[in-house]
């Protein structure tokens, strides 16, 4: 299969890139590992309520005969110059491209604390995704902890589906939260969003200490502005922020800066003909992703005037991103939650005490098997980066677990 433009990730950035590039007549493939487009933020499902704007975007995508959607597909390896090996549930294929646009998004940072592996404990974004996918939460008592606006969004989704949100523990200080709120009038739409999400159980300078229970979650121990408090509940959702998914960009040789794919004004990466847009270039929400995606799409087909036209809009949302990152930077207390017997690697059951003695990710992995399990360090690698400052090594193919059958397609060098 050969296309002019291959877009990896069909969230806001990828959808916008495809729509921006489409009028040029270029053949476009838009690939995502989820079964539907929309990314994490516009994830569809039986209990999802997507904004009208998303339905409109999806209609426009479907109407473009030059855009091919490849959902439930994952990038496995670089098969050759400008060629990626891709796998879906049924088959594998090599896709050749002229231009590549990486819109690989971000994933949730999960920080370990005592009890975080108990059934009933999820990520804040993870809970949202589960609820959209049909998880019943009506009548359940829920505590949300972590940092950033995602806590409020997650609470709103749970509440709309009948859960009782008892407490929202934000680790940032009131001063930081108030400082962020004071800037919101610069982005009126965000201000309205925030007002709509406001919750009486919201507390700043607060964080989870432990999830309590034997076989499943029964209560949460919280530090609420310095006071320890136990709250009986059925669910705990924790979101400590987002980590850019830079692995594919890194594997293709794109320069990484501040844990994000570095791009120029045209959203071009350091590698020729590879662009990047959205959360993988630094998290900042769907508005930033949409405009960056559109710039990348225009630039990739050579419509520089259209791309340049969007620069002011991008600047506006990058300002929002900076305010967000500055206000909700993780403080020390949430980095010290794990105790010596807290599991850091869930796949291989490796506790904090088994890791601390090692000087870095690779020696720790070799000695303890940390990161060698099914998730290949996606969770614990990010946690140890925050906890110990360990840098995970450059990703190697297969970039995701893949059928050996798929890898058999990797052929001779050119």
């Amino acid at each position: 299969m050969k296309v002019d433009i291959l877009i990896i990730g069909a969230g806001p950035a990828g959808m916008a890139a495809a729509l921006a590039a489409a009028p040029s007549g270029a053949r476009i493939a838009l690939l995502d590992d989820n079964p539907a487009v929309g990314g994490q933020i516009w994830r569809d499902g039986p209990q999802a309520h997507l904004p009208p704007q998303v339905h409109e975007q999806r209609r426009r995508l479907a109407a473009q005969s030059t855009i091919q959607l490849l959902t439930a597909s994952r990038v496995i390896a670089q098969a050759g110059p400008k060629q990626l090996l891709v796998e879906d549930a049924a088959c594998a294929r090599v896709i050749e491209y002229d231009k590549l646009i990486l819109c690989t998004g971000a994933r949730e940072l999960l920080l370990p604390f005592p009890g975080w592996t108990l059934p009933g404990v999820t990520g804040a974004g993870g809970l949202q995704a589960l609820i959209k996918g049909g998880l019943p939460v009506a009548g359940e008592r829920l505590v949300i902890a972590g940092s950033g606006p995602l806590l409020l969004a997650s609470a709103a989704t749970a509440q709309a589906n009948g859960a009782r949100v008892l407490q929202i523990a934000e680790q940032a200080s009131w001063a930081a939260v108030a400082g962020f709120a004071a800037q919101l009038p610069r982005w009126p739409h965000k201000l309205l969003q925030a007002l709509g999400l406001w919750h009486p159980g919201y507390r700043a300078s607060s964080h989870v200490i432990a999830a309590l229970g034997d076989s499943h979650l029964q209560a949460v121990r919280l530090s609420i502005n310095g006071q320890v408090k136990e709250v009986p509940c059925e669910r705990l959702a924790c979101g400590f922020g987002l980590i850019a998914n830079t692995q594919l960009g890194q594997a293709l040789g794109c320069r990484i800066e501040h844990n994000s794919i570095a791009v120029d004004n045209w959203q071009a990466s350091s590698q020729v003909d590879i662009y990047a847009a959205g959360e993988c270039t630094g998290f900042g929400g769907s508005e930033k992703a949409l405009v960056e995606g559109a710039i990348a799409g225009h630039a990739a087909v050579g419509d520089l005037a259209a791309a340049r036209h969007l620069w002011p809009q991008r600047q506006r949302w990058q300002g929002f991103a900076r305010a967000l990152q500055h206000s909700f930077a993780l403080g020390e207390p949430v980095k010290q939650l794990a105790t010596p017997d807290t599991l850091i690697c869930r796949c291989e059951d490796i506790a904090l005490a088994d890791l601390r003695e090692h000087g870095g990710w690779t020696p720790a992995k070799l000695a303890s098997r940390c990161g060698m399990g099914a998730c290949q360090g996606r969770i614990c690698g990010a946690a140890t980066q925050v906890l110990f400052g360990w840098q995970p090594p450059a990703p190697r193919p297969p970039f995701s677990p893949a059928r050996i059958d798929t890898l058999l397609q990797l052929g001779q060098p050119e």
């Binding site: 390896a77 020696p363 060698m372 190697r396 677990p401 050996i404 059958d405 890898l407």
Partner: protein, 369 residues
């Protein structure tokens, strides 16, 4: 300058660790310096295997396998030692004849081995291709997890492990990258492929290998499965080559090898080589195609021209002892290599004739005699 230890060993891989273990057992103070670079012990398969390309290789691997079986009783669980045996797979009648010849050689040495016909092979390993003609089973072979075995060998009160990179060797002392000098009566160079940096005259060539590991599929494979073509397709070739090598790990994962490249020392996984290696493995075990791979990586084997290690004192640099050039057999032959080296150091009769492994065969005679 005061001595930093009785003996300084450069390299805390399986060879350096085995030497340190044996020296410490004899009461010497050993300082082991490791630069923390990617090296063969961490990358390899941990296959403990008797090889018989030549009598010296057979003697060293057979002796070492016995030592591993002894150590295996004391090793902690995280070393993942198992005596699961190797099956040498014959794809055709010609290879079956090779299996029979190999059987004779190994039997003469008193090794536990057995020829399996096609039906017996299917019964032993039902996942294998039904087109195979049979196999030679070598019962004393095993597997282990070498990084932890090396750590276990280094756990001794007389051994100090220090993370430090040696940048120069000068007589009986070494300079670290921070400028500090350390000295000892004896230096042992056991840092595999990196030995060339400190000792450019060593005839070592890097041979890159790829490995891949699957998700957990317990019970699918029992023995380590190696194609008999391994000897011809991987060992003796000069260009890039692959050979089927499938090893069941105690976790239920399958470790799949093997490849050899002479022209590439880059650490990257090369997709074309990965594909080539896996196609070969799938020829032998078709069901592999339906399993999930979770990780691939590479490593460098430090090979000498004749495939045997260099074990002994450097003929022109008194006080510098060599334990390098093990190619893909370092984990297997670590115990024997250590015993051979230490016996020479102490002027004792070695458990094996040391001549075939002496550095003199490449470096010439002693200049200081």
């Amino acid at each position: 300058m005061s001595q930093s230890a009785d003996i300084i060993i450069i390299g805390a891989g399986i060879i350096g660790a085995a030497c340190a273990h044996e020296l410490a057992r004899r009461g010497l103070r050993v300082l082991v310096l490791d630069a923390g670079r990617r090296a063969a012990t961490a990358a390899g398969m941990g296959h403990l295997i008797v090889l018989d390309d030549n009598p010296a290789e057979l003697a060293l691997s057979q002796y070492s396998l016995q030592r591993w079986r002894d150590w295996g009783r004391d090793m902690p669980a995280d070393c993942a030692y198992r005596q699961n045996g190797t099956l040498w797979l014959a794809a055709n009648a010609e290879e079956m004849a090779v299996a029979e010849a190999k059987y004779q050689v190994l039997r003469e040495q008193g090794l536990d081995c057995q020829l399996l016909g096609a039906a017996a092979l299917q019964a032993a390993e039902p996942e294998l291709s039904q087109t195979l003609h049979g196999a030679l089973k070598v019962g004393g072979d095993g597997i282990l997890y070498a990084p932890n075995a090396a750590r276990w060998l280094l756990q001794h009160a007389q051994i100090e492990l220090r993370m430090a990179r040696v940048v120069e060797i000068d007589h009986r002392r070494v300079r670290l990258d921070d400028g500090a000098w350390l000295s000892a009566e004896v230096l042992i160079l056991a840092n595999g492929v990196y030995a060339r940096e400190l000792c450019p005259e060593l005839p070592l060539q890097a041979k890159k290998g790829h490995l891949l590991i699957t998700d957990r599929y317990p019970g699918r494979v029992n023995h380590t499965l190696v194609e008999l073509g391994y000897v011809t397709s991987a060992h003796n070739a000069s260009g890039p080559s692959v050979a089927a090598n499938i090893q069941p790990r105690p976790t239920g994962q399958l470790l799949i090898g093997a490849s050899r490249q002479f022209d590439s020392e880059a650490p990257e996984v090369e997709p074309w080589m990965l594909g080539k290696m896996l196609r070969r493995a799938v020829d032998y075990m078709p069901g592999l195609a339906g399993l999930n791979a979770i990780r691939a990586w590479t490593g460098l084997r430090a090979a000498s021209p004749d495939g045997l290690p260099l074990l002994g004192e450097h003929p022109q640099r008194p006080g510098l002892w060599l334990a390098v050039g093990h190619e893909g057999l370092g984990v297997t032959t670590a115990p024997g290599s250590a015993d051979l080296l230490v016996a020479q150091l102490f002027g004792e009769t070695a458990p094996l004739a040391p001549d075939a492994y002496l550095p003199q065969r490449f470096l010439g005679v002693a200049a200081h005699a």
